[in-house]
Symmetry: C4
Subunit: 206 residues, 4 copies
């Protein structure tokens, strides 16, 4: 195992412990990845307990999603990770999580995006420097056909280079960044804002 792979493996394993511990990757859901080289990505295999990952639960793939490791089959959602690495060369890590907040809020929001405004915590997203900005998070309908889902995500990414993450309805969050710590910071910020929005909705007249 190369030093890079060993380091990135450890990074993914620790991210899993954190995200599972917070309840954002329950019941073997979620998948995580990190860029190994310009043409290879390290991904979690599907169906594993995300708080108990080992280096065995990781798999290298090429940019077309082909397994580079005999006997390990990439998960169906690999295509959504690779799409992001192909979109922006500076992306070094992608996290896909399944929290209650992401699930509920994406189901409650009937329009095709969620907009965060007037939260100081928006500044935790890369590129945002003031609460007076608006952070727009697109919501795509869930689809077990990942290729079809990716085809809906693609034009949005192409038109929004500033995008920091997206939701799949009733399913979860995708977010990314240069380094794993940046992505973890963004997951925390997203979950914070999801919780705020849900609490606001629970109190406001309806």
């Amino acid at each position: 195992m190369t030093a890079t792979r060993e380091h990135l493996s450890q990074t993914i394993i620790e991210a899993g412990r954190f995200l599972y511990g917070r309840g954002w990757s329950p019941a073997t859901s979620s998948n995580y990845s990190a860029r190994l080289t310009s043409s290879e990505v390290l991904l979690t295999v599907s169906g594993k307990h995300k708080g108990q990952l080992t280096t065995e639960d990781l798999l290298a793939v090429d940019m077309d999603g082909n397994s580079l490791e005999p006997g390990k089959k990439p998960s169906a959602e690999t295509g959504l990770h690779l799409q992001i690495y192909r979109w922006q060369p500076e992306v070094g890590a992608v996290l896909h999580t399944h929290s209650v907040g992401a699930t509920v809020l994406s189901r409650l929001t009937l329009s095709d995006s969620l907009v965060f405004a007037d939260y100081e915590l928006q500044k935790a997203f890369t590129g945002i420097t003031t609460h007076e900005s608006q952070v727009c998070v697109p919501i795509f309908d869930n689809d077990q056909n990942i290729e079809r889902l990716a085809a809906k995500v693609q034009p949005w990414l192409e038109n929004h280079s500033e995008c920091v993450g997206y939701l799949i309805r009733g399913h979860g969050l995708y977010t990314w960044g240069a380094k794993m710590n940046d992505v973890l910071r963004q997951v925390e910020a997203f979950e914070f804002l999801f919780e705020c929005e849900l609490k606001l909705k629970a109190v406001q007249p309806r």
Copy 2:
């Protein structure tokens, strides 16, 4: 103690630590079991702190619920566990938990079942491969007469071999699987979905 019993005891003790830690087995509630052989089951005795179980707190019974250990008396709910082991020979473990979510949602649902639909996390249940499925969870009224309660559960099980769990109103959840890890994954998925449903209800117009 046989190697199997020692292994299963440890599995139950660790399940208790996890479930108590998550708040799903509070105040000495809940009971857990694992299949020892085709004709014997290992169960928790009643009234113990579920986060602090020891091998002393476990008891082997036969398929009719008779204690195989002099001096240890099976709990009243043993019958509900055995019913599931008799129903499907592939069941290796059964967990009965008492969470706030299961309690509240089963009280709020006036009809005799709860249906989960359009949640990606439904795929955490054994046999479910798409969010486009419907997971139906029957709810039985609580009854201190366990034989009478089991008699209401029996026809439902016989008619629904795909069933992954059921609720007792104001009381808790029963769920099962081939191995303890499968059952723990299902408990996590149930609790996730209970929380989603409660949050949706708290926000939607009424």
Copy 3:
């Protein structure tokens, strides 16, 4: 220090760590006690961090609330603890906690008691064997004059030997039992039921 005092001190210190950890004794609130002998009680002194108690933070008093330790002054609420020990000789420990649930529910309940019904978890209270019982928890208005408050509690205790706990409005819970583990189990059960009641109220039409 006698063996009894050392044992009970440890019991109180561990109860504090647990209760603080659960968020039920925040910001140096709460006080705890255990019976040393038929005429002496061990109590926490006021104003201490309940997750970081030491044996120095405990004080023995007689049944009239006089300090038996020069230089340590019993807290104002000592009288409410002693009232319970005088009421029932079998009481060995008393916990007074300040949770969000107890605070909010006692403020929301305009009548002078809260009634739990149809919860399986009612069986966690000493003396309760079925969910078909009703557990009545009186609520007394908060009062900084502890003697006056105790005078309102006294007739209720005298008329309800089955009482398992009471609430002070906007303030917290008093509950007791033969041993500290019994009281901790009851605190868990109360907090579970408070949470259930609040979640039910948040969803039901109003």
Copy 4:
């Protein structure tokens, strides 16, 4: 490093671990400080993970906000900390946190202050001895221009020497005290009361 600085650094690092662990300083938000001398204050530099602070992440400034350490630049919010140290010489520590509760409640409150009344836990604030008091917490609109924000805070502080903390709308809480433990106790009390108010609002008719 002086003994005082080493001690205060440790105090701030531990406060961060606690506050991050409770979810009150997520996603590298928040800043903390402690008074070194009558003319110097130790502050966290901005953009650090608050659960993983090291002594390198702290910076001494003078009372005008000038860095006393070459190469380290004080964060924009330094001015809000110093304003409090200048206001009351007995203040030894200031915590600025970003919780969901503070964020949501400050957005929901349209008036320019929040008033806590009839909570026993108000007694956790320095100077409060009864639930019959009223604790008034002013709310200032968020502003990325810290000088302008400080200018709005200043008259309020000058007219309310009893003030125990204030909120910035959609942003977070400022609170202070003689020692770090006092400030941590106040943060706990504020968060408890924010949670109570939000739960009350979620249940009350609207």
